[in-house]
Symmetry: C2
């Protein structure tokens, strides 16, 4: 098969440097749509680069497509290319020291969010119709929020991860971005292999402790957005999710995700001494120091967190509303220490779905002085289709 040149003029530094990946579309439910794929999903014949030059240099071309790539191609979509990611998906801001920072078309001078940075930039900048990302600690939800897109972290385990670079398997999920709810749903129906139409949740639960973590202007803008959508539900109630604090919950994910992330690459790091940004190495060095005792304690705490969130969802057709991020995208070029602090604060929001394996959709429903910020809906396990349908319904109303 002759591959025509990629028809995209990448003005956003969204695609991998030198990338010439292209798979033509065909007939199917996604016919006519072009997509970009985060460079952690295998494309046959291409090296999966994972945002790191040492990774690229020490791996061979993939033999087969990742399951999700195959699924989309078979559904008729065209793959326009591979996008820049934070190194080995370790980051939520999208500043890759090796390949540069994809432009955030919706918030000039600010980060696109990561680690699915190039995918979000490519969709927001209208280079493609939709794009694949992954979400371990916020890597779809954060860039969706920062770039004003629809983005879903699906139910953990819902979408097959074959041919995908794993970071921390008990947290890793595959997600996607689109600019509009209908396209978002069309793609989701293919990736989720959806059958029946879902019943829509009727009860909106506002997570007060999550809103309290947002910066004041962001909190106000997202509360307003929440008020706008509440008429779609029969009831709106408020709850405090964590009896301790969401930061405490997030700390458990930091421990567990760190351990898993270190185990995923420790042998490769020892063998190849990869070139990483200081920030990424720093996280691996700290991950290496996590003890078995810390892991065992965090696993027990994770069970408590799951039980508590089950309790919140019990007895009804519910969805929990929370900020996707504590603020719109921060400026590019912040100091490592600033980004570190900001990452931990955002993790207190993203780890709720992370620790519980629940689906969370970020909706582009607010702005703060121009830049977008997302409102999230957290659903029951398996309620991915319901979240997509809610997104469509909300979009129709606004």
């Amino acid at each position: 098969m002759t591959q025509p040149p990629r028809p995209v003029h990448d003005t956003l530094n969204a695609f991998c440097p030198g990338d010439d990946t292209f798979l033509p579309g065909g007939a199917g439910p996604l016919s006519g749509l072009a997509f970009a794929s985060k460079d952690i999903f295998d494309v046959a014949g291409k090296v999966t680069g994972a945002g790191n030059p040492t990774w690229r240099a020490t791996h061979s071309p993939a033999e087969t497509h990742a399951w999700v790539v195959r699924q989309l191609i078979d559904a008729g979509a065209e793959l326009a290319g591979k996008t820049i990611t934070d190194e080995l998906t370790r980051g939520i801001f999208g500043e890759n020291v090796h390949y540069g920072t994809p432009t955030n078309p919706r918030a000039p001078g600010r980060v696109p969010g990561g680690s699915s940075s190039g995918s979000a930039a490519a969709v927001a900048g209208e280079l493609v119709d939709f794009a694949l990302g992954s979400d371990t600690g916020g890597s779809v939800r954060v860039p969706a929020s920062f770039c004003g897109l629809f983005g879903l972290r699906p139910t953990h385990g819902r979408i097959p991860r074959g041919g995908m670079l794993l970071q921390a398997p008990s947290y890793d999920t595959i997600g996607w971005f689109a600019r509009d709810a209908i396209t978002f749903q069309r793609v989701g129906n293919v990736l989720l292999q959806s059958a029946a139409s879902p019943a829509l949740p009727t009860q909106l639960i506002v997570a007060e402790d999550a809103f309290d973590l947002a910066e004041p202007e962001t909190r106000a803008a997202l509360m307003e957005a929440k008020n706008r959508i509440s008429s779609l539900f029969e009831t709106t109630t408020e709850v405090r999710l964590s009896p301790s604090s969401l930061t405490d919950w997030s700390n458990q994910q930091q421990i567990l995700q760190s351990r898993e992330a270190w185990e995923s690459v420790r042998e490769w790091i020892d063998r190849y001494n990869p070139a990483f940004s200081f920030e990424v190495s720093d996280r691996y060095v700290l991950a290496r120091a996590v003890t078995d005792e810390q892991v065992a304690a965090a696993q027990l705490r994770r069970e408590d967190i799951v039980a508590r969130v089950n309790e919140v969802f019990a007895g009804g057709s519910k969805v929990v509303c929370l900020p996707s991020t504590i603020s719109p995208a921060p400026p590019t070029g912040q100091a490592v220490s600033q980004r570190h602090e900001l990452r931990l604060r955002n993790s207190a929001l993203t780890s709720i779905a992370g620790n519980t394996g629940r689906p969370q959709i970020s909706l582009p429903l607010a702005q703060v002085d121009g830049p977008p910020v997302g409102l999230s809906l957290l659903g029951d396990r398996g309620a991915d289709e319901a979240l997509m349908a809610l997104a469509v319904k909300i979009a129709e109303r606004s």
Copy 2:
């Protein structure tokens, strides 16, 4: 002044990629000699790259020559170019993940030693007559040993460090390499601004605990070399330097050097999130964790070490003999964990001069199944010229 192209064909990956540094020679005591300079010494009009692409990208061209570069140029030597160094001088093996590993011409398939890797390779491979390096924790002595060269770590504070990248100021020194003792001394007389001829030490002291650290074959080869040179001395005696262990002494340098190294670059790292090898970041992250209490305790221990070595040197014209390294150069491409262990073992040898600020010369007097390994002489503070003169005398006899 028109600068002709550098007349060196770099077959060893010794010079910095794309380097076009050249300063012509003139009349003076070093007339007719060409040298290379580790890329941590300023050359006016050029960016000092320090072995790291982020450092290079975030610094402006130097306005003036480093003191040592100016001194050599004024003495008539020709500067042929700048050489690869381990990142920010952090390493003793010379494997730079960004710019590659300079070839060890004397031991194919093995590392050249670092951090003054390119300088040692350029001299050993006869691309230049001599080369500048620096030595904080062994960065001249180790590559001298591995590449079969003469190399001196001078008395701390003896050679002005203006225009040089500092790593850990209380340990940083400037050294140089040559293939023969006479050239080595010619260069040294210029850098040390030597006046009178030195008196030669008459008593050879064999550091038993240092020899015990060497691998068996290396120990045997260096003991034989020691026996060959002992006839140049009136007496040969043996001593154990450390009442605890040389590893314990080295641990104190690890603490103090780490703290100083972190303080040297912490703000730059925070600002620019540099791309480092994992190994280098790892050392900085661990350095960041060093506590004030550890530093205070290590400073007291360092005073004990100085006092103990003063005691060994007391009452005579003495020089201490020890292995430069525990072995010849290891193979390239070892795992990070292997290199880490090997670095610590070598540091037990190199930290004796490091902690005490004493001069140490590595002499190319032994081989182990082909690859060279150096025998070192440790002198009194200020006895740099005496060590060079001993090197000449030893070379004349052999």
